[in-house]
């Protein structure tokens, strides 16, 4: 009996697989490019595909199936742009989802703007992404300009104003550093006590830490991608900088490799994000449970929550869009999807605050999420733990000139 069930389930799955892979004119074609180099990356790529499959299994969008193509850009801009081009010009997609790295999303914005394809960004914080004036781009995560404000406010009020900056050269970290610096100056009138611009994948921070140690700072901002940040955190302790000097993480501090690699050095590090696994809303608890069961994720970070929110927002928009889905209607359908996303308002999902878009091609309209949550690690390592320190919603204009 059980065996028969399995066989039957297998047949159904194959049938669904065939249905989703065959490119019927009536399909809604969605292209996805993401950084899928780590286990987490693989998992949230898989989650997006699974959620889309669930939509199809439940009857699709007004009877139309979503045909999704998932590609890996390894967080490399050349790969990301190549993926985008392939998806847009060969697969003729209606909608692009990507990428999860600012340095990749930024150049893709130009590609989608030129081709006229709506682009939904699951995770990239660099403020410039929405400042290019593209009417095709929608950012689900919180922009770096809000993060900078939240970080600076918290740091200035709770930690002190003598802050050392370590800024790696990747797009997200450069943006995070600049925002923090700007906000610290605007709110508290202070410049960095020390600032080191290091390489994206710097391995040796010892000289900087040595200098920082001799300066008696209140805190250190480490703005870098996860692995680089973890190294810097470890080396800050090795250099003998005590726990009383707070370590502030940039946006990538939310990535699981940070506490995993940094271990004890992650404890006390805090950062702003769009989602906290320590969130105790029922929806968050369910989500944590789902990612743990399906993908074995210990505590999903906002890469997961944002990817999930993105699929939900996409589902809403596609349902509202008036789609022809014929060969001749590609351009028209793309525009319809764009306008449908732009009219999403007050979506409440996993993100710490509501997400809204509007029609103008401005950061105010296209940075959909303005609520950041401040999270601190209370324990590092494989089974890290976090706490929510604060939750702040910013004005739409915040951080713009």
């Amino acid at each position: 009996m059980k065996l028969m069930n399995k066989v039957f389930a297998g047949l159904v799955a194959t049938g669904v697989g065939l249905a989703t892979t065959a490119a019927f004119a009536g399909d809604i074609r969605v292209g996805i490019t993401m950084r899928m180099v780590s286990e987490n990356g693989q998992a949230y790529g898989q989650m997006v595909m699974d959620e889309i499959k669930a939509i199809n299994d439940a009857g699709g969008i007004n009877g139309n199936m979503i045909k999704a193509t998932l590609m890996n850009d390894e967080c490399k801009s050349d790969k990301g742009v190549a993926n985008a081009n392939k998806l847009i010009f060969q697969e003729n997609i209606h909608l692009l989802i990507g990428s999860t790295c600012s340095s990749v999303s930024l150049p893709i914005v130009d590609v989608t703007a030129k081709a006229g394809v709506p682009q939904m960004i699951p995770h990239s914080t660099n403020a410039k992404i929405t400042q290019k004036g593209s009417e095709w781009v929608f950012r689900i995560p919180v922009s770096g300009r809000y993060y900078g404000g939240v970080n600076a406010k918290y740091v200035g009020e709770n930690i002190g104003s003598k802050i050392a900056y370590i800024c790696a050269a990747d797009a997200a970290s450069v943006g995070d550093c600049a925002n923090m610096e700007k906000q610290m100056r605007a709110r508290f009138g202070v410049d960095p006590a020390y600032r080191a611009d290091v390489q994206e994948k710097e391995v040796d921070f010892r000289s900087h830490m040595q200098k920082i140690k001799s300066m008696n700072v209140d805190g250190i901002l480490v703005a870098a991608l996860a692995e680089t940040m973890a190294r810097a955190l470890i080396q800050s302790y090795e250099a003998g900088i005590g726990e009383d000097v707070r370590r502030i993480g940039s946006s990538s501090a939310s990535n699981a490799p940070v506490p995993k690699i940094a271990g004890d050095a992650a404890k006390g590090v805090f950062f702003t994000a769009a989602y906290a696994a320590a969130d105790n809303r029922p929806i968050a608890k369910l989500f944590n449970e789902m990612t743990r069961k399906r993908y074995g994720i210990h505590a999903p970070d906002h890469d997961f929550s944002q990817a999930y929110d993105l699929v939900r927002i996409m589902e809403i928009a596609l349902n509202n869009a008036d789609l022809q889905l014929e060969q001749w209607s590609l351009k028209q359908d793309r525009t319809a999807i764009r306008d449908a996303i732009a009219s999403v308002e007050g979506y409440e999902g996993l993100a710490s605050g509501p997400i809204s878009f509007c029609a103008a091609p401005t950061p105010q309209c296209r940075d959909g999420n303005r609520t950041a949550v401040l999270i601190g690690y209370t324990k590092g390592g494989e089974n890290f733990e976090t706490e929510v320190l604060a939750r702040v919603t910013m004005e739409p204009d915040f951080g713009l000139e």
């Binding site: 010892r206 000289s207 200098k211 090795e238």
Partner: protein, 303 residues
């Protein structure tokens, strides 16, 4: 801000501690070059595999760090010998260095590097792995000016120096070492001396890869372990070997230390955002004014 002598000292000390590690990798590259006339482009991957072997031994098998270090050296040496035996031997037999086969060897090295990286992705995964070593028994050195040198760096420096001394003793004062040097200079004549040349070639490869593994296990606790770590190390070690004089063993070490100091000073006083450039800047400067490197011997003439 004025000139801060203490931080200058710190930069130099840290430069030296990382430089000796470049040095031991460069030592291997130099050893293989002087022994076989081939530039081993897959050496960075030996360093990476060494780090992973050390990690697996220390974390999964649970042996103490020093044992993991030695174990990783042995495993990587075996890996290196296998790679040489199976893939390189045919090409080296046809002559290294300046011959057409030498060109093939270079390409083969690149190919091997790619193959090993992919194998490592398969076995170890793409994620960076933390390498936690319990080093409480190593003293924390304090230099004047409150420059605290963490234990792992002290350990790195000590072990690197020991390895170099060991290699030096082996090459200068043992009969097998003499044979290795003979093979390095001229394989035909080494044959005529009754030296088992193929065995010595394996030995050279094993030694060189073992040294790279030591560097990997030493760097692991500082920088975490990751499949892509080999490439940058290869570049630095390469610069070290050229700066010191390709094929010269003391040159490799001093070249490594110079690269380490130079890049730390460059990062501190010029700009830290292009740190990896300084190694090559030094390399270009040295090549401009002393093409054979600081300790380079003249290109050897083959019989």
């Amino acid at each position: 801000m004025g000139f801060d002598f203490n931080s200058l000292l710190a930069f130099i000390i840290f430069g030296v501690t990382i430089g000796v590690v470049y040095g031991i990798v460069a030592l291997g590259i130099s050893l293989i070059y002087s022994g076989l006339d081939i530039v081993h482009f897959a050496h960075g991957e030996m360093y990476m595999f060494g780090a992973f072997f050390g990690l697996v031994l220390a974390h999964n098998v649970g042996v103490p760090y020093p044992v993991a270090l030695i174990g990783a050296m042995i495993l990587t040496a075996i890996l290196g010998m296998l790679v040489e035996r199976v893939f390189y031997r045919r090409l080296t037999r046809a002559g290294g260095g300046y011959t057409v086969a030498g060109m093939g060897m270079i390409i083969c090295g690149f190919g091997m590097s790619v193959a090993l990286v992919n194998a490592a992705y398969f076995f170890f995964g793409a994620e960076a792995e933390p390498f936690r070593a319990n080093l409480d028994y190593i003293p924390r050195l304090t230099f004047p000016g409150d420059i605290n040198v963490p234990e792992s760096y002290v350990l790195t420096a000590i072990i690197s120096v020991l390895l170099m001394a060991g290699l030096h003793y082996f090459l200068r004062h043992t009969k097998t070492g003499l044979a290795v040097r003979a093979v390095a200079h001229n394989k035909d004549i080494a044959y005529l001396m009754g030296i088992n040349v193929p065995l010595m070639i394996s030995l050279i490869f094993g030694l060189a890869c073992g040294l790279a593994a030591a560097a990997g296990v030493l760097i692991g606790p500082m920088q975490s372990v990751q499949v892509e770590m080999g490439y940058l190390m290869l570049m630095k070690a390469f610069a070290a070997a050229v700066v010191g004089g390709f094929g010269s063993l003391p040159g490799a070490i001093l070249g490594g230390i110079m690269v380490g100091i130079f890049e730390n000073l460059g990062a501190a006083y010029i700009s830290a955002s292009h740190k990896d450039i300084y190694a090559f800047l030094l390399l270009i400067l040295v090549l401009m004014f002393r093409p054979s490197g600081l300790f380079g011997v003249e290109a050897k003439v083959k019989a």
